[in-house]
């Protein structure tokens, strides 16, 4: 009897969380779009052939001097039934025409993976620093705050440019540069969450019970800090992809690196804008927007789930 009511109560909590999330229609839409993106990234990684994607790691086939028989003429084609997203030319000389849909499918894998990587690594570093400095306080906290102040004092796009300029313009370095600007955000957030958790008397109870500092951090503070951090992570993936692709668009990735990245593709498309062709820039941009929007909507729904006010 007892266990029955027990598991029922547990189940009710879960069901309530689901209900809160599902009642937010836009969050569900966001989740659906997000799953499409994840599915695409997964397939390109595991079985690119299913989507008809070839050479997932490069913008163009290795022997790109070979003319693509599908391409007629040298001008990019507008979206049509054959090429849903249209095509672009790689190089104005008309060496090869590339299907934009395929390019986008390749690029999604890289964008999604890298933005998750950036946010997760940044969050891991930042949260640990934030929790530790928030818990121990005093000079450690002061020092951490001053260090993050410095990172916050430069507009993040410019800091990323400067870091990239120094360490070199590659995809991995771009991720590194963004991690460098991202961890202070989580350090601040983790700190403020720790400070508010520290206020709760259960921390004092634990000290009265003789629990050591490590135990308090891991058993009491971390479990209470992590859920909001996870929500923040889900929201930040959407922001990071924006900055990431914008950097690539400005030219962070040299054009001869041939990385299939949405911002970089848009910047290839830039060459055709003068001809009046809109799709090579707008479509990759719209795909980024879709992903970011999906993640934001989803994060919004998740925030409702952990917000006690929304639960009641």
């Amino acid at each position: 009897m007892a266990t029955v009511t027990e598991s029922k109560a547990r189940f009710d909590e879960l069901r309530l969380s689901g209900k809160v999330f599902l009642s937010n229609k836009t969050a569900v839409v966001g989740l659906a779009i997000f799953l499409v993106f994840i599915g695409d990234a997964f397939l390109v990684q595991v079985a690119p052939g299913v989507l008809g994607v070839q050479y997932p790691d490069s913008v163009v086939p290795p022997q790109f001097t070979q003319t693509n028989p599908e391409c007629v003429g040298t001008a990019p084609e507008a979206p049509s039934f054959n090429h849903l997203f249209g095509t672009i030319q790689y190089g104005l000389s008309g060496i090869g025409c590339l299907d934009l849909l395929q390019l986008v499918m390749k690029a999604i894998r890289i964008d999604v993976a890298i933005s998750f990587f950036i946010v997760l690594v940044g969050a891991a570093i930042g949260t640990v620093v934030g929790v530790v400095s928030g818990y121990f306080g005093r000079w450690l906290d002061e020092a951490m705050m001053r260090v993050t102040d410095v990172f916050f004092s430069v507009p993040f796009l410019i800091l990323a440019l400067a870091v990239g300029f120094v360490i070199g313009r590659t995809l991995v370095n771009m991720a590194l540069a963004l991690i460098i600007i991202w961890w202070p955000l989580y350090a601040r957030y983790g700190r403020s969450l720790t400070l508010s958790t520290k206020e709760a008397t259960f921390i004092e109870s634990a000290r009265a019970a003789g629990s050591g500092r490590l135990k308090i951090i891991f058993r009491h503070i971390m479990p209470n800090v992590l859920p909001p951090v996870l929500v923040q992570i889900s929201l930040d993936v959407g922001t990071v992809i924006l900055i990431f692709s914008t950097l690539a668009f400005i030219g962070f990735l040299p054009s001869n690196a041939l990385v299939p990245e949405l911002g970089a593709i848009a910047s290839i498309g830039l060459d055709f804008v003068a001809l009046g062709d809109w799709w090579p820039v707008i479509i990759p941009g719209a795909v980024i927007t879709m992903f970011s929007l999906a993640v934001n909507l989803m994060g919004d729904g998740l925030r409702d789930v952990i917000d006690p006010r929304r639960r009641s």
């Binding site: 309530l16 209900k19 809160v20 009642s23 929304r310 639960r311 009641s312």
Partner: protein, 453 residues
């Protein structure tokens, strides 16, 4: 004489994600004119919901499936009730918000003017970015701006000779109200009488100081714009639309009138025993202590001489010594003001001190109503009896808790909601909701134990 307020079979439900929260389940209550009625009960029994429900201040997820709140022969909750009746289970907070907006419009002339309310938390119920004077004066500004304008106008029209005459009149009649009013009417100085009477009634300043202050009520200079605004407002007896809607003009109008609102706020606060009111009106809420803030909130509630004042836990958030100050204040104002009071508290001892009658609430119903003495010394309902025996006393007599917890209002027990905790419960209690049974001349109890007695 009719009742000041009557609540008939009021039901309130909150539509939450965790289910339907039945906050009020048929409350019947009458508030006689001039009386102080206490509402007592544990947390979650619906006391506050009832107070807010009367004011139509409940959040948008609240519905009123049944019941009436009759004030001045009007039902205050008919709009939301009709909406609830119409949609039944398909209640939508978004739709309800539209209804609430209409209710707010309809209630605007009643709220704060005829029925006003004091909230529980003095620390959060004042706006942190507006000065105290503004917040007190505003309640007059929104309901009776002409009063403020009249006061200014009277001061500008009064000549030094007239105010000197007024002083001697006050001295001769020992501050008789009617003769001062007559004087003001005769000399076309409506608005000056209350200012003069206020100064005269102050106990803390010397007579010559009072005379000086009253003589200073004369010949206030006004520039062209001010004069035009004040004249217009006095003539129209309210703020005409062209003064309140045109962007920059409306700002000037508010500034002119609120300057007087501030002055009025000073008088109100002084009359509630706040020293240095001229300093207090310039302060912001965070500069005041909890007790002071609660006085300010009470001043706001009394500003327009309302017919009913609802006080929701007025002393729960303050210390005992400050609670004592507030209780003495409430006792004082109930004799000096002609309003009826509803005082909500979880502390029976507080209610016992200020109330004529006390109603005990449990699970969204009134289970017993009686004059204070009867409730305390001859409680009938088992809940009331147990509630009283649970209160620890200074003598340290043994206390008895009530077994179990307050019921979950999402699943209210059948029949009498108290039956699971009641030692006297029998079959009928579990099945039939008890009706209000009269006992003696003025006691009502909702308990089957007293059926047929």
């Amino acid at each position: 004489m009719s009742d000041a307020l009557e609540i008939r079979d009021l039901h309130v439900r909150f539509h939450t994600r965790r289910g339907l929260y039945r906050a009020l389940n048929g409350v019947n209550l009458r508030l006689a004119r001039g009386e102080v009625l206490g509402i007592a009960g544990e947390s979650g029994c619906g006391k506050t919901t009832m107070g807010l429900g009367v004011m139509s201040l409940l959040p948008r997820n609240a519905s009123y499936p049944q019941g009436q709140v009759v004030f001045d022969n009007k039902d205050l909750v008919n709009l939301p009730r009709e909406y609830s009746e119409r949609v039944g289970d398909r209640f939508s907070p978004k739709q309800n918000e539209r209804i609430l907006r209409r209710v707010s419009k309809a209630m605007a002339p009643i709220r704060g003017r005829r029925i006003s309310m004091v909230f529980q938390e003095p620390m959060t119920s004042l706006n942190p970015v507006l000065p105290i004077g503004f917040q007190v004066g505003e309640s007059i500004y929104v309901h009776d701006p002409a009063q403020l304008a009249r006061r200014v106008l009277a001061r500008s029209k009064a000549t030094p000779e007239l105010t000197r005459e007024l002083v001697s009149l006050l001295a001769a009649t020992h501050g008789d109200e009617t003769s001062v009013r007559k004087f003001a009417a005769e000399h076309d100085l409506a608005g000056i009488e209350e200012q003069a009477l206020f100064v005269w009634s102050r106990g803390d300043i010397h007579i010559s100081r009072k005379e000086k202050a009253i003589r200073a009520l004369s010949g206030q200079p006004m520039n062209f714009v001010e004069r035009w605004i004040i004249d217009t407002v006095v003539r129209a007896r309210s703020i005409p639309w062209y003064l309140s809607r045109i962007p920059i003009l409306s700002r000037i109008v508010r500034r002119v009138l609120m300057r007087e609102g501030n002055r009025k706020a000073r008088e109100l606060l002084t009359s509630l025993g706040i020293h240095h009111a001229e300093r207090v009106v310039r302060m912001f809420p965070h500069e005041l202590s909890g007790g002071m803030r609660q006085r300010v909130v009470i001043a706001i509630a009394l500003a327009n001489n309302p017919e009913i004042v609802i006080m929701d836990e007025p002393t729960s958030a303050v210390d005992v010594t400050v609670q004592a100050q507030i209780l003495e204040l409430v006792k004082r104002i109930r004799t000096s003001v002609s309003a009826s009071f509803i005082v909500i508290s979880h502390d029976l001892a507080v209610l016992a001190e200020v109330c004529d009658r006390i109603a005990i609430m449990y699970a969204g119903r009134i289970v017993e109503v009686a004059p204070t003495d009867e409730i305390l010394h001859k409680p009938l309902h088992p809940y009331t009896q147990m509630l009283i025996s649970a209160i620890p006393t200074l003598e340290g007599k043994p206390v008895e808790g009530i077994q179990g917890d307050v019921p979950d209002m999402r699943a209210v027990p059948s029949g009498c909601a108290f039956h699971p905790r009641c030692p006297f419960a029998f079959e009928k209690c579990r099945e039939v909701i008890p009706t209000d049974l009269p006992h003696g001349s003025d006691q009502l109890v909702a308990c089957w134990l007293y059926e047929g007695k």
